[in-house]
């Protein structure tokens, strides 16, 4: 899946429970009730989902982990992760125009 337009934000009602002692974050998706364990990389990408389009998200992820990966490797990680998140309803893709009228959700 690719995301040429649209922005990413957490799904409505999403709940997070960081478990730093296990280096993971638990995520509850009430829309399709399920509980997931995110590893630290996936958790970081989720924390970056604040309504940016894909390219901005990829750049922000790269800035946080450079120089450990190339820009392309970082971009691939983010894309693969977002594909997975969208399938699991952890993250939703929002048209940019609609995003401006709504606030942040999830905790």
């Amino acid at each position: 899946m690719s995301f040429p337009t649209g922005s990413f934000r957490r799904s409505r009602g999403l709940r997070l429970r960081p478990l730093p002692e296990r280096e993971v974050c638990l995520v509850y998706v009430p829309k399709r009730p399920n509980l997931y364990t995110l590893n630290a990389t996936a958790w970081m990408i989720l924390e970056l989902c604040r309504g940016q389009p894909l390219k901005d998200l990829q750049a922000e992820f790269y800035n946080n982990i450079e120089p450990l990966m190339s820009r392309q490797e970082a971009a691939d990680y983010v894309l693969a992760c977002l594909n997975d998140f969208v399938q699991k309803l952890i993250v939703e893709v929002v048209p940019a125009a609609k995003l401006k009228t709504t606030g942040r959700r999830g905790s």
Binding site: T37, A42, I45
Partner: protein, 202 residues
């Protein structure tokens, strides 16, 4: 602000492994075999292959100037054999080289042994079992140079990043607790204070 704190925490945990692992979001397998149980694996051990050893032993000694050339020739002839013998005879014990401090003219040397863990030192019993082996003769010769120096030192060091997990020993822990108490409490105690807990009192 909570999200910025969480982002920083996630970033820290991502980077502590070196190169980030591929992102994964796995369904949590909650099992019921009596009570319910959420299976959350403990984090993998930190990869410390970047380090000389998880425990490092250092021999520090001076070689008299008159013996310097002989000693350097001894190292050239024996170091590779010592290193290879360690790998064959003593699991988890690694010879990391003998280095001279250059520039000050004092002919001071440091020999480094790296251990995979604190219990690896017991492997020396196997390594030193045959007194006539090439390995033992070479180590004996190396140690003789150390013995000749009345000011020689022998130090154990543990990798700092692992000290949170490894047993510090009761007296070291006691010292840490005392120091933290002097400074006004441990970080975990502060987190448990009323300010940090969401109160449920009536």
């Amino acid at each position: 602000m909570k999200s910025r704190k969480h982002l920083e925490l996630a970033r820290r945990l991502t980077l502590r492994r070196g190169a980030p692992n591929a992102p994964s979001a796995k369904e949590v397998p909650t099992e019921v075999r009596s009570n319910s149980f959420v299976a959350i694996d403990p984090p993998p051990k930190v990869d410390t292959t970047y380090a000389v050893g998880n425990v490092v032993v250092e021999w520090c000694f001076r070689v008299p100037h008159g013996q310097l050339r002989t000693f350097v020739a001894f190292l050239a002839d024996n170091e590779a054999m010592i290193a290879a013998s360690c790998e064959r005879l003593m699991k988890g014990v690694h010879y990391r080289g003998t280095f001279m401090i250059t520039g000050d003219g004092r002919s001071e040397f440091r020999t480094y042994w790296g251990y995979d863990s604190s219990v690896t030192e017991k492997q020396w019993e196997a390594g030193l079992a045959d007194p006539n082996s090439n390995f033992v003769r070479a180590v004996r010769q190396l140690r003789t140079y150390w013995l000749q120096d009345p000011n020689a030192s022998h130090r154990h060091m543990a990798l700092g990043a692992l000290l949170g997990d490894a047993a510090l020993g009761p007296f070291f822990k006691f010292t840490l607790n005392t120091a933290e108490g002097m400074a006004g409490g441990t970080p975990s105690a502060a987190a448990r204070s009323g300010a940090a807990r969401k109160s449920g009192r009536k």
